[in-house]
Symmetry: C2
Subunit: 351 residues, 2 copies
């Protein structure tokens, strides 16, 4: 942490973004007050909101405030309103990943016994794995990328350094978990995947206590449904990570429950729900605050070394689930405010 | 059909390949004998089997016999034995797709009420959609593709013609089904996807009776689990189709039940199970013959205009399911031979 008081830049974004950001900040205020955590929040425009205010989804002042922060909270951006904008909200998202070198996107998939009833899967084994997705390279950013009248092309490109640093991060995470890494690729077809296999095998040797295997991406998309308990840490490139992490999220029953962390090289990390801005339910007060509240917990544990506060928040969420105070996406009838109040009460009761 | 008597080239391949191919051919012989369908089968080496015999997974004589056929039946290829071969079995598969211009791979996902119990999904609505996957272009074949010491790259490339012809095929299929096409792409990131959207929108105008929408690939990977009933025909590029069709197959409970058809431009179509050669169960006589037997049915209906024979086969499979005569992958205890005999008996009983 570079600042004396924890500096948090908050990017509320669009549609349900501000609704869940408010919930996250209320919960943060609760644990902070109870436990002496000093912080300052700076709200900055981002996404469609920033387009409306400045014409650009990622204004320079938002970049600056993000770079100067110790951590960034992002809620959700985008929506049909800006489909025809010269730079769409998503472009801002891709750009902030690059500006802050957020090379690793970490998405936990966890189905606890209490959450099992929400899962669309019949299987009843608890699921607990993490997807480590490369976030600033691959076909998202590779050049050339061209669209002509008669053909178009994109380039999936990776350098050794890009693969090494994220592979190392995946093995480090595994060594604090169940000591297993699965590289997901398409090495029977792609040259970049063969390259990932070579380099990851080298990195694996630095971690003799972590077991290591590989899966083709098509097979992995089946295993996430058929036998998710076999995974601990899934390491994969940008596009495969995009697809598989959404699939994995869906197996928990609702995207509305899943946070993520995007780690930079030495700058601040960014925490955000994995879902979008859900224009269809915006303004109704029924957005699930779990994903944002868990993003706050992830931030406290990882950027501020306050696992204690993160645990309090997670317990608060468990209590809301146990009491059945959940939003409609989880089959409940509670509002965002009611769920948030339940979490806050549970935290306060347990002080 | 170019030959007087239906000419079928059979590529049994590796491990369970020959076991299920035998089952498929027995069922074919049964309906053919009953109903006056004249055909000749030519068995040719392919995959690891062909590497062992000739050093090449796709020998020239196999290419020739395939090109001269009216239809091709392929069982399954590959296995660890040939991992270090100069050209692996998979290379043969990619090459035969190109040699025969098999530009469209059609994979049905169907969960009938009888099959519901095998599905890993809790949801109980019948599922019935088809994935139309582009099979001879995209990042599988695009150049440049390079692997150096410090970086590697692959190229996803599509021409207008390649997209037009498969889009048209998808809309034609939809117009014989429930009149809906969903294009799956990543148009918020990829130039090739933007190109797919433009061209598919043009093709859509030729089919005013077919409704048309789009889904990002990450969202589609969720919908296949969360609300598969919304799909009729999914149109997508090669790599996305690879991932999503395996995911979709898994929602039916076992890959062992799913056939596929790969259509050429004017040459013969190729029919094959979507699963691999399953080295772990080879030789045990327990491979599920459903996928191969259904591939035979798909061939009869599509290459030989014999929907009547296809229907008889599908009824035979239903009977085996009803009687619980299924292989271990579906929770049963029957052998490949017992399942096959049940299908044949059911066909003969119903003559
Ligand atoms: C909005 C989109 C560009 C983005 C991505 O593909 O990375 C999103 O799907 C995500 O996963 O964060
Ligand atoms: C074996 C492999 C090259 C192939 C593919 O990726 O196309 C397979 O997964 C398939 O779907 O037929």
């Amino acid at each position: 942490m570079k600042n004396q008081i924890a500096q948090i830049t908050a990017l509320a974004g669009d549609y349900i973004g501000p609704e869940i950001m408010a919930a996250g900040q209320k919960v943060l205020a609760t644990v902070a007050k109870n436990q002496n955590f000093d912080y300052q929040i700076t709200d900055m425009p981002f996404g469609g909101d920033a387009i409306d205010k400045t014409g650009d989804p990622l204004p320079q002042e938002t970049i600056d405030a993000s770079k100067n922060a110790d951590a960034i909270l992002l809620a959700a951006i985008g929506g049909p309103k800006w489909d025809k904008a010269p730079r769409r909200p998503e472009q801002g998202l891709l750009q902030i990943r690059q500006e802050l070198n957020l090379f690793a996107n970490i998405r936990p998939t966890k189905i606890t016994p209490a959450m099992m009833k929400f899962s669309p899967l019949k299987q009843e084994k608890p699921v607990d794995f993490v997807i480590v997705r490369e976030l600033t390279s691959g076909i998202y950013f590779g050049t050339p990328r061209e669209k002509h009248d008669e053909y178009a092309l994109d380039t999936m490109r990776y350098t050794r350094t890009e693969i090494e640093r994220i592979a190392r991060l995946a093995f480090e995470m595994a060594s604090k978990r169940r000591n297993h890494v699965t590289l997901v690729d398409k090495a029977n077809v792609l040259d970049t995947s063969k390259f990932w296999r070579e380099i990851t095998a080298e990195v694996a040797q630095e971690f003799p206590n972590v077991t290591y295997d590989q899966s083709y991406v098509d097979a992995a998309s089946m295993k996430i449904i058929a036998s998710p308990e076999q995974f601990d840490v899934i390491l994969t490139e940008n596009l495969f990570g995009d697809i598989l992490s959404d699939e994995a999220a869906q197996t928990t029953g609702s995207l509305g429950t899943i946070p993520s962390m995007s780690k930079g090289i030495d700058g601040p990390a960014l925490y955000e729900p994995i879902h979008g801005s859900a224009p269809d339910i915006a303004g109704k007060g029924i957005a699930n605050p779990f994903s944002m509240v868990k993003s706050v917990a992830m931030m406290l544990a990882n950027s501020f070394d306050r696992q204690d506060l993160a645990d309090q928040i997670m317990t608060g969420i468990d209590v809301a689930v146990e009491r059945g105070i959940v939003t409609p996406d989880l089959g409940g009838t509670a509002t965002t405010d009611e769920v948030t109040a339940t979490i806050i009460d549970a935290i306060n009761e347990r002080r």
